[in-house]
């Protein structure tokens, strides 16, 4: 009779960090050579940036002192960062966007607590939050706060508002468009196909121009549509078409058997769609959908063209300030860092969602 063989640990030299370095970086000799060459190339490419950004950089708030350093003048960012955050939003009211941000952060924190997640009151709070944020930042109505017109909105705040509004509205619209496009009803289907193909066939800039220049031509002269609102509508329209195509991919990726099983139980079209089809289809399309969301976030930078001062436009505005004239590199690096933080967080969140749903 065969004896039972005990489990043994794998040999150290072929697994773990040591094994990985040996297998991928050093062995055989030409890999070692490549490692050295690549290492040198990376070093020489990054070195000037490190020198500029860290070694020769200054953080003084005095532009005259900063001139003595050959590297970056981070004092500019230290001095101007509130403007990057909120644009020309009046200084005495800057606490209001801060409060709005705190509200959102508090909600995120609450959502992270396992015990509160999925409770009705938390959903209700999230549902109210856009209105609350708007009221705090805009003021007026019954709040007793001084009105700050959207004309004064700018910076990172404007970028985030544009992107979140676009995501919030584009998502349900695109679900309806995708369902319409896959439906059997000819009129609805052709409307959805026409909308998607029309909007997808035009660059976002064109749509923004149309929304801000052409649209007012059709409206009565005394009726002025808010500039920010026009941009929101344009971006939402544009991305709902893109998102719709991704979601349609998910709908078609679902096996025929799922539809039949739902039918066989006697579910109506909407029961089938909401309970069976969408939960599965949306999971399939999490990666392309987040890709779209990242696209929305970055493409909001195009609103500069129709005269809004978003995070990117602020970079131009602040560097024409006589005090810190021409600090373009610092401004761009700072702005790029913000876009990267936001997009990377979205991407990490999507990976988290994928993992969470993959286990089921």
């Amino acid at each position: 009779m065969a004896e039972k063989i005990e489990d043994r640990r794998p040999p150290v030299t072929s697994t773990g960090t040591v094994g990985w370095v040996r297998a991928n970086l050093l062995y055989p000799w030409y890999n070692a050579l490549l490692t050295v060459i690549a290492g040198w190339a990376i070093y020489s490419a990054v070195k000037p940036f490190i020198q500029w950004a860290i070694i020769n950089a200054s953080i003084t708030l005095d532009p005259a002192v900063a001139k003595e350093y050959s590297g970056a003048a981070w004092g500019f960012v230290r001095d101007m960062w509130p403007v990057f955050m909120v644009g020309i939003y009046p200084e005495e009211y800057r606490w209001r966007p801060a409060v709005a941000l705190l509200i959102i952060l508090a909600l995120v924190m609450l959502t992270l607590v396992e015990r509160f997640r999925g409770t009705k009151w938390l959903y209700a709070l999230w549902g109210c939050s856009p209105v609350a944020v708007f009221l705090i930042i805009h003021g007026g109505f019954f709040t007793g706060l001084e009105v700050v017109d959207t004309h004064y909105w700018g910076g990172l705040m404007l970028t985030l508002i544009l992107a979140s509004v676009a995501m919030l509205f584009a998502f349900p619209i695109s679900v309806l468009l995708a369902l319409g496009r896959t439906s059997d009803m000819p009129i609805i289907k052709s409307f959805c196909v026409a909308y998607i193909e029309l909007v997808r066939g035009v660059p976002l800039i064109t749509i923004l121009f149309m929304a801000s220049v052409v649209l007012p031509l059709f409206l009565p002269t005394d009726m002025e549509l808010d500039k920010v609102l026009r941009a929101m509508v344009g971006i939402t329209m544009f991305f709902s078409a893109y998102l719709a195509e991704n979601i349609r991919g998910g709908l078609q990726g679902l096996g025929k058997g799922q539809y039949e099983a739902a039918d066989a139980i006697g579910m109506s079209y909407w029961q089938k769609t909401v309970l069976i089809v969408l939960p599965q289809a949306l999971r399939i399309v999490i990666p392309p959908m987040v890709n779209n969301f990242i696209g929305i976030l970055k493409d909001t930078s195009l609103v500069g063209i129709v005269g809004l001062v978003d995070l990117l436009q602020i970079a131009f505005a602040t560097t024409s300030n006589p005090k810190w004239f021409g600090k373009l590199e610092e401004a761009y690096v700072f702005v790029a860092l913000w876009y990267w933080i936001l997009c990377y967080s979205l991407s990490r969140y999507s990976q988290h969602l994928e993992k969470k749903y993959a286990s089921k």
């Binding site: 058997g257 799922q258 039918d263 066989a264 139980i265 006697g266 939960p279 749903y357 089921k360």
Partner: protein, 257 residues
């Protein structure tokens, strides 16, 4: 040849399904040819035949997963038409089990079974869960109610699928090759559940190649070929003395492989 096939040996039971001159085409292809079939309450019908003979299509017309173009289908007193309301009424009374199980992978086993009663039958969740547990118990999956379909074996998934159909408390159960996608060692556990269901008097129509099961459970055997009902007979007669050549050849093949 419009002879109506009906189970004379069960003549006391009322007719619950009636197919009257049913024809169906896929484009030019004539899949169901002049089907005249009656099924009586508590009758167990097994439909067999070579692949492509239209047997799956036949049972799928009974709950309108497939549309027929000619003839009448009356299920439990309701005539199948394009009217969505009619179709939903019939689907509530007709449970179906598929070859590929088709459980909802994003829902737990329990939710898979309660989703029909809760949303379609508008049953309170508490009551639906009680019913779900009792059916899961009956098919031997009681302890796994909180797992997800992907965590169960094929045989277990198919038993859950049966529980899901039963939880709607249907009057008729349709089985579309329920064991064809299963590993051999799991076929028995599914057939056992079906056998038990038959013993409890459910009206059943099964498309299957499991002739041992058919011989044991079926009241009536239907043999189909090329879209037609070729032979219709009480099970005993069918297995001991098939009349049609095609049917004999098929049985030879399937019983002696």
């Amino acid at each position: 040849m419009s002879q109506i096939h009906t189970a004379t040996h069960l003549a006391d039971n009322p007719v619950i399904i009636e197919m009257d001159g049913v024809n169906k085409w896929y484009d030019q292809f004539h899949v169901l040819k002049d089907i005249n079939l009656q099924v009586r309450q508590q009758e167990k019908v097994v439909i067999c035949g070579p692949s492509g003979s239209g047997k799956s299509t036949l049972i799928r017309t009974l709950n309108r997963l497939e549309e027929h173009q000619e003839g009448n289908i009356i299920v439990d007193g309701t005539t199948l038409t394009n009217d969505t309301k009619n179709i939903e009424v019939i689907r509530r009374e007709v449970g179906m089990v598929f070859q590929q199980f088709n459980l909802f992978p994003h829902l737990s086993i329990l939710d898979n079974v309660t989703i029909g009663p809760v949303w379609v039958r508008k049953m309170p969740r508490k009551q639906a869960e009680e019913i779900a547990y009792s059916f899961l118990e009956r098919v031997g999956i009681g302890e796994q109610a909180h797992k997800f379909p992907g965590q169960l074996s094929g045989g277990q998934q198919q038993r859950v699928a049966i529980a899901r159909a039963l939880a709607m408390q249907p009057k008729i159960m349709l089985f579309d090759e329920p064991t064809s996608a299963l590993d051999p060692e799991m076929i028995k556990e599914v057939l056992d559940v079906m056998r038990e269901l038959a013993d409890q008097g459910m009206t059943m129509i099964c498309v299957t190649h499991e002739m041992g099961f058919a011989r044991e459970v079926a009241d009536t055997m239907v043999f189909m070929d090329q879209g037609q009902i070729v032979e219709y007979a009480p099970a005993k007669e069918f297995f001991t003395n098939p009349r049609e050549e095609r049917c004999k050849a098929f049985l030879e093949q399937i019983l002696n492989h």
